[in-house]
């Protein structure tokens, strides 16, 4: 106890104790002031010319999601030029119906990107997690290397991976899958390593004590105690990746993100609202499902 506190005192140096906390709080306040002050000085803290009116306009359009047009749309919307000549007539109902069909396809693409990307990340992370888990005592150099790879993967955003990969493998879901896989590999590796580190040593001793061989120990003690945690982290990150992959369309990986880019660049807030409703429904239902499964496994 005493030794530990001495060590931590030394490690924290001037930041320990009550005065040290005050010091830290002061540094934090200075940082906040610097951020706010410099932005204000550069005149970047403005909310635009008429934020309230813009907000109300956008919110109004959001409140009328485009999918309502499938039932309530004008079946014969006429586009006329200024002098009254009929340019084009369209059935809003079929147009929005087609849009919904496209939305369904995009959702499926997003699910495919997230699912395959998560699986790829998990598979890539597994050997690295085994190397980084402290209780397995892998060779130091390999452990450091694996930890480095995981840290790099975790700190680079999926979007950045995506941008780079689109340049390499071209536009399309492949880039998305690889991007999701590479980024989530970092998170998977960390969670898997933690699962391995929290291994139940009593269980291993129990199986070992009856004279079981290493393979038997693995399947009877290690596997049952690690598997539920692996599955639970997998579901958790999978769910996270479904959310993440909706944005990947922004960089041309396809899926819901593409529709989001389209709707925002055309200021079609009604359509954006429809797409976002789908995203929310997707994430919420997957969350509910994965929580059920995780609770059943706990």
């Amino acid at each position: 106890m005493r030794l530990a506190s001495v060590l931590s005192d030394r490690a924290l140096g001037p930041f320990s104790g009550r005065l040290g906390f005050l010091g830290l709080a002061l540094i934090y306040l200075v940082l906040i002031a610097a951020c706010l002050g410099s932005l204000a000085q550069e005149g970047e803290l403005s909310l635009g010319r008429n934020p309230i009116a813009n907000l109300l306009k956008t919110a109004g359009e959001f409140a009328r999601p485009s999918f309502l047009d499938v039932w309530f749309g004008n079946p014969n919307l006429e586009y006329r030029s200024d002098d009254g000549i009929l340019l084009r007539a369209e059935n809003r109902q079929t147009v929005e119906m087609d849009y919904l069909a496209g939305l369904g396809r995009a959702t499926w693409t997003t699910i495919r990107i997230a699912t395959l990307g998560s699986l790829l990340g998990a598979l890539l992370a597994l050997p690295l997690a085994v190397l980084t888990a402290r209780n397995l005592a892998a060779p130091k150099l390999l452990a450091w290397l694996a930890k480095g790879v995981l840290d790099v993967a975790r700190s680079i955003h999926t979007l950045v991976f995506g941008l780079v990969l689109v340049g390499i493998v071209g536009l399309g879901p492949t880039a998305g899958i690889l991007a999701i896989g590479l980024h989530s590999m970092g998170t998977y590796g960390k969670l898997f390593a933690e699962a391995i580190e929290s291994l139940d040593m009593a269980a291993i001793d129990a199986v070992r004590s009856v004279g079981a061989g290493p393979v038997q120990v693995f399947f009877n003690a290690v596997w049952p105690s690690v598997l539920p945690q692996f599955v639970s982290s997998h579901l958790y990150i999978w769910e996270f990746n479904i959310r993440d992959s909706t944005i990947l369309g922004l960089i041309g990986a396809g899926g819901l993100g593409l529709l989001i880019t389209e709707a925002t660049s055309l200021f079609q807030w009604g359509r954006l609202s429809t797409v976002l409703l789908v995203v929310i429904a997707l994430v919420v239902s997957f969350d509910a499902l994965s929580r059920r499964i995780r609770m059943a496994l706990a």
């Binding site: 269980a203 199986v207 004590s209 009856v210 004279g211 038997q216 009877n220 105690s225």
Partner: protein, 272 residues
């Protein structure tokens, strides 16, 4: 008395970090004996069990257990062969928490069941029915499908005993099997343990003197790593036990008495 004893120790000395944990000149235990080991914390009880189970090689001396010489660390295959014949009930309720009671009992058959069946935990039917019989014997058949971490402490210890029945070892080492149990559960577990050891040698580390007559015919008292007495259970009385547990400066371990403060703070491997 059989010609080759179950356990034979000769001039065994076990030291760790400059401290003598155990020093036994001669100890012989025959097949089928019921032995209880008593002694204060750090007297070397658990160290002795760890020596006998091959977890810890002695620093010096000869140990023979069930025909295996443990004086040198055993190669993996020999150690596993010894452990198949050696049943252990440990203090920390050693079960696989995420497996059901029945699967935990079936672990006892891993010495016999090998290959893919033992990897997929798809045990042969006769082993499964034997496991169920073992659970029946300890009164836990209704909980066969319950996961080990959902069982109470006493129930878990009974599962560990059912695992012994499944394993059918020739020697059983129990390290304070009743440490976390209330008195009635402790007595029940002891009775089951003795029943499970019907055809085996049983060595139990106990703290509660009330349990001695249940568990043993012969009691070995350890003090500061040495055998203080080795008597039939009828000859063990309160005075002997009090003497055993009383701190005694004169008999202090010569190495540890030099600097008792440092040794007290040392982590002592294998001390109960």
């Amino acid at each position: 008395m059989s010609p080759t004893p179950c356990i034979a120790l000769h001039e065994v000395r076990c030291a760790a970090e400059g401290r003598v944990l155990l020093e036994i000149d001669r100890l012989t235990i025959n097949h089928g004996e019921r032995i209880a080991i008593v002694g204060h914390n750090g007297a070397g009880k658990s160290t002795l069990l760890r020596l006998l189970s091959g977890f810890l090689p002695p620093s010096h001396g000869q140990i023979e257990v069930l025909g295996h010489s443990l004086s040198q660390p055993l190669p993996g295959a020999d150690l596993r062969a010894l452990r198949v014949e050696l049943g252990q009930v440990m203090q920390g309720l050693h079960l696989v928490a995420r497996l059901s009671a029945r699967e935990n009992v079936l672990i006892g058959s891993l010495g016999r069941v090998t290959g893919w069946r033992s990897w997929t935990r798809y045990f042969p039917a006769h082993e499964v029915s034997r496991a169920e019989a073992a659970l029946q014997a300890v009164g836990l058949l209704p909980h066969a499908q319950t996961r080990a971490d959902k069982l109470s402490g006493g129930e878990r210890q009974k599962v560990a005993i059912a695992r012994l029945l499944m394993q059918g070892p020739r020697l059983i080492l129990a390290d304070e099997p009743t440490a976390a149990l209330d008195p009635s559960a402790a007595a029940e577990v002891c009775q089951l343990l003795v029943k499970a050891a019907a055809e085996a040698t049983l060595i139990t580390v106990v703290h509660n003197p009330a349990l001695l007559p249940l568990l043993a015919e012969r009691v070995i008292g350890l003090k500061n790593g040495r055998i203080a007495f080795d008597l039939p259970v009828a000859a063990v009385n309160d005075e002997k036990l009090l003497n055993l547990y009383r701190p005694d400066a004169a008999q202090e371990n010569p190495l540890s008495s030099n600097d008792s403060r440092t040794t007290m703070e040392l982590p002592c491997p294998g001390t109960a």
